[in-house]
């Protein structure tokens, strides 16, 4: 899932202050914590509320889109609702914000949150962990299903380095060394030969931004 963190309200109010009628759009897609209708309504109310005593009469409407990264979904859901809207505040990830910009080029669109990483969710500890940098050249088959490109701060492909101590990383002693985890996993599953094999440097040529893929159903 795409892990996000809401922006401070002061920042949001700062960039919304020139506008009056604001549409707050949630996203029911993969953004975590979920930023659906509840989040949109919460911020719509908060924005109106904090404008009032400062003689700023915002008029906010709240709505949500199934997946804001889908331009067709955005267009069909939001087109009937954008009449007379001065600005849109969206609670999608960075992808959703940019999709909206393309669908509604005439309306100013602002992000309500910062997009942080692709991660997994540990419910009991209420914590998200970064797990993938979407490099486009997956080596999880060679590393026991643990990604060193993401989870080793140095992105080493042949680790561990000499900085690990008691299984922890020298960059952050609180965090596990990804390569120690990989070693243990490979040992437990009898794949130490793969662990010992040399991995060539990452091929950056295949992962230059911005990337695009033509997807067609006839393929």
């Amino acid at each position: 899932m795409i892990v996000t963190k809401e922006k401070p309200l002061e920042e949001i109010l700062g960039f919304l202050s020139p506008y009056k009628k604001i549409l707050v759009v949630g996203c029911d897609g993969c953004t975590t914590p979920p930023r659906g209708l509840r989040e949109a309504k919460t911020y719509a109310t908060l924005i109106e509320m904090s404008g009032k005593p400062n003689n700023k009469n915002f008029e906010c409407k709240a709505t949500t889109v199934g997946k804001q990264c889908d331009n067709h979904d955005c267009a069909t859901t939001l087109t009937p609702q954008i009449e007379n809207v001065d600005a849109i505040l969206t609670f999608a990830c960075g992808v959703g914000v940019q999709t909206l910009v393309e669908v509604f080029p005439e309306i100013p669109i602002f992000p309500g949150q910062n997009t942080i990483f692709l991660g997994s969710q540990d419910r009991d500890n209420a914590t998200m962990y970064e797990k993938c940098i979407s490099c486009g050249d997956c080596i999880l088959d060679e590393t026991g299903g643990i990604c060193p490109r993401t989870r080793c701060p140095k992105g080493l492909l042949n680790g561990p380095c000499a900085g690990h101590m008691n299984g922890k990383c020298e960059v952050d002693r609180e965090k596990d060394c990804a390569w120690v985890l990989i070693y243990k996993r490979m040992k437990d599953t009898g794949q130490l030969d793969k662990f010992r094999a040399f991995r060539k440097p990452r091929n950056y040529q295949i992962s230059t931004s911005p990337q695009q893929i033509v997807w067609s159903s006839s393929e």
Partner: protein, 409 residues
């Protein structure tokens, strides 16, 4: 309530055993679901440990010599209420509901209609187990001709045994009534319980409800939609308050109807403020954390304090709190049961977590002092009033217009 009166009742306890009448039969001790009543082995004296007592009133209705005095819903006040309502409405049918079964679900309403109970006086008790047969007989004597009792389903009784004991007692009363020549439908019992329902078209399959549910009643089913197992659901409403897409509803406590109540209340604020300068607050109240005098549900406590009852503090919705603050209330107080005493599963703890995270959000616009959670129990009369009073004092001392930095430029 005047200040003088409030101080007077501060230390009064909700349930007492009157030694003068007690025959030491210890029926109360054997029936108490919380083991709060014990008898001294040597003297036979019966003692009530008020700290253990949950004020369900089951002992009160079981005592054969009326030695247990309760501050809430005693027979005289119940009869008084019935007589007054009969006089006012002209109805002569009585429907006795438990807090867990009210507001009445549409299914129950249909069932009542089927049994010919149409225009009725509604009497809501914390638990139907606290209504003694004496009350039913007195109600019939005073002109009521049909009584329908709606206890919670037995396994879901908020007071452990209240529903079971109450229902058995009603069956005995039924037998007694038929011996006396009353028709068999004079007293009917219909079981019910409010449960959560998912609108699958609105569900986004995030799984928050499935993780939050303390009863293991929700599962994510294919294709990524939450499913409620009604056998496990206890109707606390926690899932309703966590659902990010507002896809779950609890009948009688829908988002829309609570919003409606808030806006109905808030439309009265200008008038109240023109009369007095005191702040106006809204209290979201767990229905087990206080027992106001006969059915003050969804009404004023006094003109500056408005009360909105919820099935459990777990149902307290941050959206409704924001709505209330936005629509003109000076403060919002949430009343939950004391720490280990949630009648459902840790609903009060969940409410506390939610309030503290909402406070962090409100702190960004300097409104965090206008929201508070308090923990009360009906065992001490006036405990909620005391909390309300100190919250009111705090609100009064706050500056009227909160400062928000973003607009300074």
């Amino acid at each position: 309530m005047t200040e003088h009166l409030m101080e007077q009742i501060e230390t009064e306890i909700g349930v007492k055993i009157n030694d003068r009448y007690c025959s030491k039969c210890i029926i109360c001790s054997s029936i108490c679901p919380y083991e709060a009543i014990s008898s001294d082995e040597k003297t036979g004296e019966v003692n009530l440990d008020i700290e253990k007592c949950q004020v369900c009133g089951i002992c009160f209705s079981a005592c054969p010599v009326s030695a247990i005095e309760t501050a809430y819903y005693n027979v005289d006040s119940l009869i008084n209420y019935v007589e007054k309502s009969m006089h006012k409405t002209g109805f002569n049918k009585l429907v006795l509901t438990c807090r867990g079964t009210s507001p009445l679900q549409s299914e129950t309403m249909d069932e009542l209609k089927k049994r010919g109970v149409n225009d009725f006086i509604s009497l809501r008790l914390p638990c139907v187990g606290r209504a003694p047969p004496e009350f039913l007989l007195k109600a019939l004597a005073s002109g009521i001709n049909k009584i329908a009792v709606i206890p919670c389903e037995e396994d879901y009784c908020r007071f452990e045994k209240g529903s079971m004991i109450g229902t058995r007692r009603f069956l005995l009363t039924q037998a007694l009534l038929s011996q006396l020549g009353f028709s068999s439908d004079t007293l009917t019992v219909i079981r019910s319980l409010n449960k959560a329902q998912i609108n699958v078209y609105q569900c986004i399959g995030c799984g928050d409800c499935a993780y939050a549910c303390p009863y293991d009643a929700i599962k994510l089913a294919a294709p990524g939609v939450a499913q409620i197992n009604p056998d496990n659901c206890s109707g606390c409403g926690l899932c309703v308050a966590v659902c990010p897409s507002l896809a779950i509803e609890l009948e009688g406590f829908e988002h829309e109807s609570i919003s409606q109540s808030i806006s109905n209340y808030s439309s009265l604020i200008p008038e109240i403020k023109s009369k007095s300068k005191k702040p106006v607050i809204l209290v979201f109240c767990c229905q087990w954390s206080e027992f106001p005098a006969l059915d003050k549900n969804q009404s004023f406590l006094n003109e500056n304090v408005m009360l909105l009852e919820l099935p459990c503090s777990a149902r307290v919705d941050s959206l409704h709190i924001l709505e209330a603050l936005h629509s003109g209330f000076d403060g919002v107080l949430v009343a939950a049961c004391e720490k280990s005493e949630c009648k459902l599963e840790k609903g009060n703890e969940k409410a506390e977590e939610r309030i503290s995270s909402l406070k962090k959000l409100l702190a960004q616009v300097n409104l965090e002092n206008r929201l508070e959670i308090c923990f009360t129990s009906p065992r001490y009369i006036g405990e909620l009033d005391k909390n309300i009073k100190s919250f009111m004092e705090r609100i009064s001392s706050l500056p009227e217009k909160p400062y928000i930095g973003a607009f300074e430029k």
